[in-house]
Symmetry: C2
Subunit: 431 residues, 2 copies
Amino acid sequence: CITGDPREVRDVRFPTSLGQHGSDAMHSDPDYSAAYVVLDTDCGLKGFGLTFTLGKGTEIVVCAVKALARLVVGKSLQEIVSNFRGFYRLLTSDGQMRWLGPEKGVIHLATAAVLNAVWDLWARAEGKPLWKLLVDMDPKRIVSCIDFRYITDVLTEDEALDILVKAQEEDQMLKEGYPAYTTSCAWLGYPDQQLKQLCTDALKSGWTKFKVKVGADLEDDVRRCRLIRQMIGPNNTLMIDANQRWDVDEAISWVSKLAEVKPLWIEEPTSPDDILGHATIAKALAPLGIGVATGEQCHNRVMFKQLLQASALQFVQIDSCRLGSVNENLAVLLMAHKFQVPVCPHAGGVGLCELVQHLILFDYICVSANLSNRMCEYVDHLHEHFANPVVIQDAHYMPPKDPGYSCEMLESSVKRHQFPEGDVWKLHQNK
Amino acid sequence: CITGDPREVRDVRFPTSLGQHGSDAMHSDPDYSAAYVVLDTDCGLKGFGLTFTLGKGTEIVVCAVKALARLVVGKSLQEIVSNFRGFYRLLTSDGQMRWLGPEKGVIHLATAAVLNAVWDLWARAEGKPLWKLLVDMDPKRIVSCIDFRYITDVLTEDEALDILVKAQEEDQMLKEGYPAYTTSCAWLGYPDQQLKQLCTDALKSGWTKFKVKVGADLEDDVRRCRLIRQMIGPNNTLMIDANQRWDVDEAISWVSKLAEVKPLWIEEPTSPDDILGHATIAKALAPLGIGVATGEQCHNRVMFKQLLQASALQFVQIDSCRLGSVNENLAVLLMAHKFQVPVCPHAGGVGLCELVQHLILFDYICVSANLSNRMCEYVDHLHEHFANPVVIQDAHYMPPKDPGYSCEMLESSVKRHQFPEGDVWKLHQNK
């Protein structure tokens, strides 16, 4: 079963900026997009992978995926997964291309797209959803997928093996699902009337945890947060998200002024690179009962390692497309467990919900066995473009049952949204 | 003087891997390359800029430069430099493209290429070499080029202004030049006979400071380092460079075994992202008299800020193409001064010597006024392809006199080395 030539890497963009969906303090007009790759094999099986982007510049990631694809062509799935750590290292440490990262930015987003497709292919070949592939896998095999380079001072292979005893039966997840929170109600660009309507609807559908975008204007934040808190009542959970808008001191003073609405966490208060800054902020906000959450732009396991070492975050927000796919996310899940910090994955965008649900199910069943302060982000956009969209019941992610990693897009959707030649974009240009 | 359309971004590669030039423990076969951009203007003036790469993947950076170039087209030089901070922010914080970084990896390398061209254009418009443009500039104007976002907890505008008093007359630099060290003698792939010959030649030419690549094999490192120390004698300076080969604990034990050759510093002992790891290594090696140097892959000012805050490095190795051009390097020079850590720029590659000499001259004349433990890297390759190549006299960089930022390449060199269509690569493919 030899993997074929993945030349066909596509630039798929959705004009979400038209409705201010996804708008926040740093990204005022995102067009949710993806670099989408299909791995063909000579036995008919396909692997689907993607990485999430915000519109402009997706062509750069597509270019990077093509460059990395050269390292996949001609290899069999067996060859790759029998030494998955070695294959991960091959992609991330090519002697010429690692200069472009290493393991960060465009080249790492591209690595995620390629490896997501490989994991999808593997799960399909085994006839299982990815979470189940992982849950059934021998711990030694799981550990052999992880590149421990640069993290052995915090997590060794032996420690990883010790953590990976099956922690929990999967029945509970199959029955109840994994708890979710919603970000769909309170994007920064939404007018108040829309916020209210969306909150009302969400409460009716059983949602109990809500995230609000903040950071553009303090007065406006106070008003919006009070409004949401009033809508959801004192017993539901509120989180706030600044998307890196502030410097360190500014973050502390701004968030202190929002303490009255009792947010569980402040997400991305400052630069995603500022480990020491996050630590300072976390320390200052702890007396107010507000934790720090970050991770959607935390670019690799070395950064997560330090955020944990420095007690710089109280909620680990892994991302299925920013990190080097399942391989690197496994390392972060295990490190988070060692430091006993809950994992609350980033989702939304294009396909992030579809992907990351697999990782958090594995985390619960094989690593954490804990739901306290744990929940997975959910955003109610663009699921209709996927072959196996997420299933949410009563504000819980229900475990997917179809084989694979759930990121196959409908061919009709891909065609319509390809940039710039798809019908949607042709229309957009003609307006 | 409106800047024209910089569509012409070129992928220029030199087949340096053939001679093992540039080989180290993580990059065994680099083909020194550049994404090279020329900004045209309607008044005939041109700005030349580049960012350095290692071969494969340069096409990705070229793609990113083209994407950023859209933000330059149609602007006048005056418009850009009169609000240079704003223009820097425009390039690095585009609401859609910042997702691809932010300020790291491919997109930041591309930012460097574009901004290097803008600075070159500015210096040419003023008829001065870039270092002199900076030295003559009003401190307020200099500070207005810096984006202080995410660093105000360590350096404010007022503090920057206080630092920027003219520290030293430039006569000394014009007469003696800025001290350099050489990396050309001891690439990892060079056989012993070649090491010896190159050391002998370098000593004759007045070199007193030598860097050796290490990290692939401990026994081999001991042998090679002893050989070099023997060649250069006890009073000359030896530095060692591992190019990120080790984990934290491994770095400490490996370098301890090389302490006998009395290296001034160990460069890049581990992941460039591991601030806390560098701090642990620095603390462990301090009793042996060995400092930690890093920076050539330190991706932005936020990372340098933390390396300084954590006492994780004793030598700041700024890079003219990894950071966001002069703008971001100014921030790092000022922060390094505040922490009283010497700056020893990274150079070599393609054009890095040509570029960075301007920054270190400015640092001496306007910031540090200090040469203790300070020196600029020099590598004796590829200078012949530049219109105004560096001038080294008695192991010192002599201040450039031609207007601009010295990174204009000879058109004949560019044509021959363009990938894949240049003659050099056509020949290479036919072999």
